[in-house]
């Protein structure tokens, strides 16, 4: 009886087990139906995201706001502001802001671009996509290492593919050497007969342009080494000479206002005051405006305007701001509302905020372009190389090409920002190239150019490399740099938590500490 019942119970259980369910549906259960996998996804869609992310974060321009604008633009005396949290204008350290670029660059730029490189590796149908992704990966890492120095590079972004969760920090010198190798190889791999990457928002898959882009990127990477490794710089310039960007080849990405914060132009949404009062209190620096004004630069009345708002009190937009060059006036850096000796209203230049020059509406359109790499930059870098190393042609020719392009390219912002070739030529005629002050001339022009591109990261890197233009630092009370212009962003302190060993090792090699004043390798 007992045995019989026990047997019945076990049979019953076994029957239940066999008659139902099983685990054959489990894989389906555990597959997210709202997603794709590597077999059915088009990696071109990742390319668009990666290109967009290079212009700034989908998260309300997170690092563009903090890194490019709050810090780099004010270090370079492109912009100036009295907004209290714009710590860069006063050389104050806000660790959250200096860390911002790091966090967003790795998660939004490195992650997708490494994924494309890895997932399209050795796939013939994605030959060009893979090569473009490798070029972009170099572009992405160049900026990261320029800002922070030794950073995770060779092991970065490989959390999935190589199961590396705590990447080591590579020496900047090694990074630069590999960037040169990578871009050289990738540019060579581009194949006019290969695939046309449909996700390319910059050149719409134009392989010839990408080849020139790759060479110009190599040029810029090489020229960064003029202090640290001039021989290498010279070699690479010779390698790419004659194969760099041409007049119609400017690389830019056009914002799309319909996508809101996800796709809007990154600099524009901050400068238009979408999240604060930047629209009112961020002005062109007097250093920048004075340069344009003194030299009767035709760019002045395109880049700057006053009376953007009706008056100080209501801050309602003014339908017709004033572009007249003669009334343009930059605001000095390092001022605020209440610090004795630095109060803006006590400055001799102060009349009202509305009288200071704002970035003009042409360059702050929500669906406007973000320039990534331009013909003008390319020519000015070639001019620098020619002057410095006597390679790659004639310095004056490149200088003239560069300056002209740096004036006329602005039409790509807006038709109303068009400056005639004649006006550009007139400017050149009035300010002819002079080899004895050539490097200062070239790099001051580079500074004006990259400021007008609102690529203040690049302005800062090139200034650190060349020391031009010569800028007078501000000396605001309580600043973190003893009144010197910062040379580097400190590492994000959360690396102490999320990557403690590699972070500690990298910090230990920094001479003088992990500070705004310590220098990256190429900035000897």
């Amino acid at each position: 009886m007992k045995k019989k019942l026990l047997r019945n119970i076990t049979l019953l259980s076994a029957g239940l087990l066999l008659s139902t369910g099983c685990t054959k549906d489990f894989v389906e259960r555990n597959t997210n139906p709202a997603s794709y996998n590597q077999t059915n996804f088009n990696p071109n869609y990742m390319l668009t995201s990666a290109e967009l992310a290079y212009t700034g974060s989908t998260d309300f321009s997170y690092e563009t706001w903090r890194g490019n604008l709050i810090y780099c633009s004010t270090f370079m005396q492109g912009f100036s502001t009295v907004i209290g949290y714009w710590a860069g204008d006063k050389y104050l350290l806000n660790e959250g802001y200096t860390s911002a670029y790091w966090g967003n660059a790795y998660s939004e730029q490195v992650k997708p671009i490494v994924d494309i490189v890895e997932s399209t590796k050795d796939k013939a149908q994605y030959k060009n996509l893979n090569a473009i992704a490798r070029i972009l990966r170099a572009l992405v890492f160049e900026r990261i290492t320029d800002l922070y120095g030794d950073v995770p590079y060779s092991e970065a972004g490989l959390g999935y593919y190589n199961k590396i969760f705590y990447p080591k920090y590579d020496k900047q010198q090694d990074i630069y050497n590999d960037l040169i190798t990578q871009v050289t190889q990738a540019t060579a791999a581009l194949d006019a007969a290969g695939d046309i990457p449909t996700g390319d928002a910059i050149y719409k898959g134009d392989i010839a342009k990408w080849r020139k882009f790759g060479n110009t990127l190599l040029l810029r990477i090489a020229m960064r080494l003029t202090k640290a490794d001039p021989d290498k710089a010279k070699t690479i310039v010779a390698q790419v000479s004659g194969k760099t960007l041409e007049a119609a080849d400017d690389a830019f990405l056009t914002g799309d206002a319909t996508g809101g914060r996800t796709t809007i132009n990154r600099n524009s949404q901050v400068l238009l005051g979408d999240g604060g009062q930047e629209n009112y209190y961020v002005k062109w620096s007097n250093t920048f405006i004075n340069n344009l004004k003194t030299n009767s630069d035709p760019r002045l009345s395109v880049l700057a305007c006053t009376q953007l708002y009706a008056n100080d009190a209501t801050k309602t937009p003014n339908a017709s701001p004033v572009f007249t060059a003669s009334v343009q006036k930059g605001m000095p850096n390092g001022l605020d509302f209440g610090t004795a000796g630095h109060i803006v209203s006590a400055d001799p230049s102060f009349t009202s905020f509305n009288d200071y020059s704002s970035p003009s509406p042409y360059i702050t359109k929500r669906n406007g372009p973000t320039f990534i790499l331009t013909y003008a930059e390319s020519e000015l870098l070639l001019a620098d190389a020619a002057q410095r190393f006597a390679v790659g042609g004639d310095a004056k020719t490149h200088y003239d090409n560069g300056v002209k392009a740096a004036i006329t390219y602005l039409k790509q912002y807006d038709a109303a920002a068009t400056i005639s070739d004649a006006a550009a030529q007139a400017y050149l005629t009035a300010h002819p190239y002079n080899a004895t002050t050539g490097l200062e001339q070239i790099n001051t022009q580079y500074w004006i150019l990259t400021n007008s591109m609102l690529d203040f990261y690049e302005s800062w890197s090139n200034w650190r490399r060349t020391g031009f233009p010569v800028l007078t630092p501000v000396n605001f009370p309580n600043n973190a740099t003893s009144g010197t212009i910062p040379r580097r962003f400190p590492y994000p302190s959360n690396e102490a938590v999320s990557n403690p060993d590699n972070y500690a090792a990298a910090r230990a090699t920094l001479t003088g500490g992990d500070l705004l004043t310590s220098r990256v390798w190429w900035d000897k």
């Binding site: 369910g21 794709y36 969760f165 705590y166 996800t262 999240g275 509302f337």
Partner: protein, 1055 residues
């Protein structure tokens, strides 16, 4: 036999669960099934004329059949025992007296009348070991037979000094239970830890089981747990969202009969992978008589302002008051101004006011909250069954203006005997809950709490009201600071919308067939199905998002659990009984969350999705998981002396499945426990009960769906027509996951002295887990936030003690007292290779963390120490003279090591009073409020050298720069001791005399209640030691509601 059974059940090839369900039951002689139902009428055929077999059934007062009851015919030697279904047969004649006796119950005599069917209901005795408790799978067992610790809490303890979430009422009541309510307002999640932290980074919350059906209750909602939907209140640095609560808080405490806390693995082993954090069993009320019950409860609540800011210096910067409007704006969050000298000074609104201290801003901002709860219940018993219907309404106004929580619940609970073998039970619990403007916690944007907390010392919060509700005439935010993310608290409270609404049906049906001879077969199916709607609006005119935004979220959850169970006792001889039971269960949980959102309202102040004209997006978050299980138990008893139980369970998890990979999807969990009632052998007069127990078990934990493969998704937006792809996984997937495994050994003793006037229950346990599935934070430079890893070993050891006493007991006056206490020591034994730290949560300040650290107790509160040079001196930055940041250092666990509760109940005639004092010791908390107190110049410590210079002589810096840099560099100054002793609750009741209304009213009790009244001791400044804004960030305080004290009235009437 046990081995054989398990072998059959767990043959590797038989890897399938079943749509089934079960309930347990059985156990030794004295167990009863769990199903709630009533008694009456067993089919009885007997003759009244002569000695003939009398048939009947014995049940307990909840209607459960009682097996093993001894039935004697008084004055004769004739006796019989009831079977597993409570049925018995005995030869007797009319007018004979039957004596029913059963350990744990009062002996009852019944005189046989003619023609009557016989159903006997025994009432439980107060003897400690005889107490019947609910155990895993809903099986009721006598306490003496348990080889592990179980603590019961009666429903009435949860209803008088009630809280919107009843689980918060468990604080201080159960040894080994650490209850923390979150600072998110009414309906926010609770953090319940049983025997310490059970998992390194997954949920530590216990499994809730209502009437035998497991109910998922994840903090932050099940949607983020089962689907890929991000959890906004997950303990990240920039989390700024409301705590929309867990699922268990929906239950109306008036419907709860009792709660059993299964603390250890041995107790909970039958729940396998869901039991790792312990189990809380809830038994709901059934009809036990014909009556109408009415309960009305009103409580008011006021905030306890914990801040002790400085009021010597006012708003401003550089040690002076603002003299211009812009300056007032720029220093809108700074109290580094001038001495409060009473002079007229310009404020942010352009008005000059005396520069004086403005204390009590929090009291001005928060209002008196109130909660009114009414419940009516109808009980009816009828031939063959019973039914209970209750309806309740809770109406809450939060202390935060324009915020509150309403809830209506309906509970229908019935049982019916279809025939003498077949019993059906069914329950449906329908819940409607509406949260109005649940306040944000964590960060400052849109969060009224955060910004009210940190107003400058000379700003009166009422001056921020503007024209109305914190807005200016055109309806835009009345900004008081240049930091647009410091939302005006009135504007945040009155204009932001964060409404939630939940419609939920919890239902279950069970069918049990009782075979003759004590065998049974039971099947059950339970369903938890709900829809959550959340409307979130950032209004037009918000400073940080001028044109506003909206999101509408709809989440559907369907959680189905089914099980079957069969068992039968076998009497080997007079002394030994063996009961095998086998069962299988199936669980399928599906979640579908759709979030529609958009920015920029075309027509200002009109809030609907159509009116949002840019960045329209749709996000879809599905989730699906299935678990199948088979299990069996074998129980043996020898007399009333020894009890031994062995169980085994195998689980199969869909969440471990990986395409193209033949993963091991199952895990086997064994358990064994036993008890020895030594007072049966040795019984001195002063010893009423004596029991020793021991148990060992394995339990585990699988993971959430979609963790095993890389997947891509597309954004709602396109870039000029080009789709935007991204990797959907926030964490690196892992295609080789296995379930984690925890084993726990426990021993304990239960002792009763002096007729149980004094009793002790103690337990010691040691729990170790391995292969923890951890969302290990990865360096951002890996491209991912985290990686899903099978790493980690964790250990918990502890001791629990419960002392009950009745020091005074007379007819008129009784005093009972209870003290429970526990100590738990956890230790993280191992993390991923190459790392000894694992981030859990980050303070908004960015300089306070909780982490797992190898070798230390779980959830360490971490902050930066000073940097020291070789000579041990504090290192400073040569440029500024500021102290440099040193090592990130562990300062202690976020969880208290010692937890205790002390309750006393007094009754005098018709009066009764109960008082609960509880305390926690040894936990640490990182005070984000103190960090901001330094940065904003509110903290009293920032008064030191306020007007002097810091830094170097060459580069002097002011107090504001010094203290805010100090706060960032040396954050250890914000780690505080969270120990406290709290006067938790008091209630004074009066029961009206029974004859007061001519018997129309059976009983009526009126009580005055008070809860969270005051701290007897605490060590934190400016914050409450129990503050925590997220279950996932315990140990970090940030931007939550201040705690409140409540007081009110409870009326309970039975007709």
């Amino acid at each position: 036999m046990k081995k054989k059974l398990l072998l059959i059940l767990f043959l590797p090839g038989v890897a399938c669960g079943a749509y089934a369900n079960g309930h347990t039951s059985n156990s030794l002689k004295k167990a009863s099934g769990l199903n709630v139902r009533s008694a009456v009428a067993a089919a009885v055929a007997h003759s009244a004329y002569s000695a003939a077999p009398i048939k009947g059934v014995v049940r307990d007062n909840t209607g459960q059949p009682l097996p093993g009851v001894t039935i004697r015919v008084k004055g004769t030697a004739k006796s019989a025992q009831s079977d597993l279904n409570g049925q018995f047969t005995i030869d007797a004649e009319a007018n004979d007296v039957l004596v029913f006796s059963f350990i744990g119950f009062n002996t009852q005599e019944v005189k046989l009348a003619s023609g009557a069917s016989l159903t006997v209901t025994l009432t439980e005795s107060s003897s400690q070991l005889g107490e019947v408790v609910v155990t895993a799978l809903g099986i009721k067992k006598e306490r003496r037979s348990l080889g592990y610790s179980v603590t019961e809490v009666k429903g009435e303890e949860l209803t008088k000094t009630r809280e919107p979430s009843f689980v918060n009422s468990l604080v201080g009541k159960v040894a080994g239970l650490n209850v923390t309510s979150m600072s998110g307002g009414p309906g926010a999640s609770s953090n319940i830890l049983i025997r310490g932290v059970s998992s390194i980074s997954q949920t530590n919350q216990p499994l809730y089981v209502i009437n035998g059906i497991p109910v998922e209750s994840q903090p932050g909602g099940i949607a983020s747990y089962v689907s890929s939907k991000p959890n906004n209140n997950g303990g990240g640095q920039y989390d700024n969202s409301s705590d929309n609560g867990d699922a268990i808080s929906n239950i109306n405490p008036d419907d709860i009969e009792s709660i059993s806390v299964l603390k250890g693995a041995a107790a909970a082993a039958l729940y396998g992978s869901r039991a790792k954090a312990g189990v809380i069993l809830i038994t709901t009320k059934t009809a036990k008589n014909n009556s109408v019950e009415f309960n009305s409860n009103f409580v008011a609540e006021t905030i306890i302002d914990p801040t002790d800011w400085q009021y010597e210096y006012g708003q401003g910067s550089n040690n002076k008051a603002p003299v211009s409007l812009q300056e007032a704006f720029q220093s809108g969050q700074s109290s580094y101004g001038g001495l409060l000298d009473g002079s007229n000074q310009l404020q942010f609104d352009g008005v000059s006011r005396p520069y004086v201290a403005q204390k009590g801003n929090l009291d001005k901002f928060y209002r008196t909250g109130s909660t009114l709860t009414n419940t009516v219940a109808f009980n009816r018993m009828f031939d063959g069954g019973s039914v209970r219907l209750s309806a309740s309404d809770m109406h809450n106004n939060s202390v935060v203006p324009n915020s509150g929580l309403n809830r209506q619940t309906f509970d229908l609970n019935g049982s019916y005997d279809i025939n003498k073998h077949l019993v059906v039970n069914a329950r449906a619990n329908y819940i409607l809950e509406q949260g109005k403007n649940r306040p944000y916690v964590g960060d400052g944007a849109g969060n009224p709490n955060f910004n009210a907390w940190f107003l400058p010392s000379s700003v009166d919060i009422n001056t921020l009201k503007g024209v109305s509700n914190g807005a200016i005439a055109n309806g835009n935010e009345y900004g008081y600071s240049a930091n647009t993310y410091a939302t005006n608290p009135w504007f945040a409270a009155e204009n932001f919308v964060n409404n939630t609404s939940r419609t939920r049906l919890l239902s279950n049906v069970s069918l049990r067939y009782n075979f003759n001879g004590g065998g049974f077969l039971q099947g059950r199916i339970g369903s938890d199905s709900y829809n959550d709607r959340v409307t979130n609006i950032v209004p037009t005119g918000t400073a940080y998002r001028v044109n506003g935004s909206i999101s509408e979220e709809s989440t559907n959850v369907k959680d189905i659990t089914a099980d079957v169970l069969a068992g039968k006792p076998f009497k080997v001889n007079e002394d030994i009984t063996i009961t095998p039971t086998v069962g299988a269960s199936y669980r399928r949980t599906r979640v579908e969350s759709i979030v529609n959102s958009g920015d920029n309202f075309a027509v200002p102040f009109v809030y609907n999705l159509q009116n949002a004209i840019s960045n329209k997006s749709v996000s879809y978050y599905p989730g699906d998981l299935e678990t199948q299980a088979v299990y069996g138990t074998l129980e043996a008893s020898y007399k009333s002396l020894f009890y031994l139980t062995g169980t085994g369970r195998s689980d199969w998890f869909s969440t471990l499945a990986t395409p193209g990979k033949d993963n091991k999807l199952s895990k086997f969990y064994p358990a064994v426990s036993g008890s020895f009632i030594f007072s049966e052998l040795w019984h001195p007069t002063w010893l009423s009960n004596g029991k020793l127990r021991a148990g060992y078990a394995g339990v585990g934990q699988a993971t959430t769906p979609f963790q095993t493969q890389l997947s891509y998704s597309l954004s709602s937006a396109t870039l000029n027509g080009l789709p935007l792809g991204s990797i959907a996984n926030p964490a690196v997937p892992n295609n080789s996951l296995v379930a984690s495994y925890a084993s726990e050994f426990e021993i304990g003793a239960e002792l009763g002295f002096f007729n149980n006037r004094l009793s002790f229950d103690m337990a010691w346990y040691h729990k170790k887990s391995k292969d923890e599935i951890v969302l290990a934070p990865a360096s951002a430079s890996s491209g991912y936030n985290a990686a899903v890893l099978n790493i980690g070993k964790l250990q918990n050891k502890g001791f629990e003690l419960l002392i009950n006493g009745s020091p005074f007991k007379t007819d008129k006056f009784t005093w009972t007292t209870s003290l429970n206490g526990s100590v738990n020591t956890s230790k993280v034994l191992e993390l991923a290779t190459g790392t000894d730290q694992l981030l859990v949560s980050t303070s908004r300040s960015g300089v306070g963390f909780t982490q797992q650290v190898v070798g230390l107790p779980a959830n360490q509160v971490m902050a930066y120490d000073y940097a020291y040079d070789a000579g041990g001196n504090i290192s400073v930055d040569p440029n500024t003279g500021l102290p440099l940041r040193g090592k990130l250092t562990a300062y202690g666990s976020a969880y208290a090591k010692w937890v205790a509760g002390f309750s006393n109940n007094f009754t005098y005639k018709n009066f009764n009073m109960s008082v609960l004092i509880d305390g926690k010791w040894g936990g640490k908390i990182f005070s984000t409020s103190d960090y901001y107190g330094y940065v904003f110049g509110l903290h009293k410590a920032t008064l030191v050298n306020r007007t002097g210079n810091f830094g170097t002589t060459a580069a002097p810096i002011n107090a504001a720069t010094y203290y805010s840099n100090l706060a960032s560099n040396v954050s250890k100054i914000f780690v505080q001791d969270a120990s406290f002793i709290k006067f938790r609750s008091v209630s004074v009741g009066y029961t009206l005399p029974a004859n007061l209304f001519n018997g129309a009213v059976k009983t009526a009790t009126i009580s005055l209640v008070g809860r969270n009244l005051f701290y007897i001791s605490k060590k934190t400044d400016n914050i409450d030691p129990e503050s925590s804004y997220s279950v996932f960030a315990q140990g970090i305080e940030s931007g939550g509601l201040p705690t409140t004290r409540t007081y009110g009235l409870n009326l309970s009437v039975k007709f």
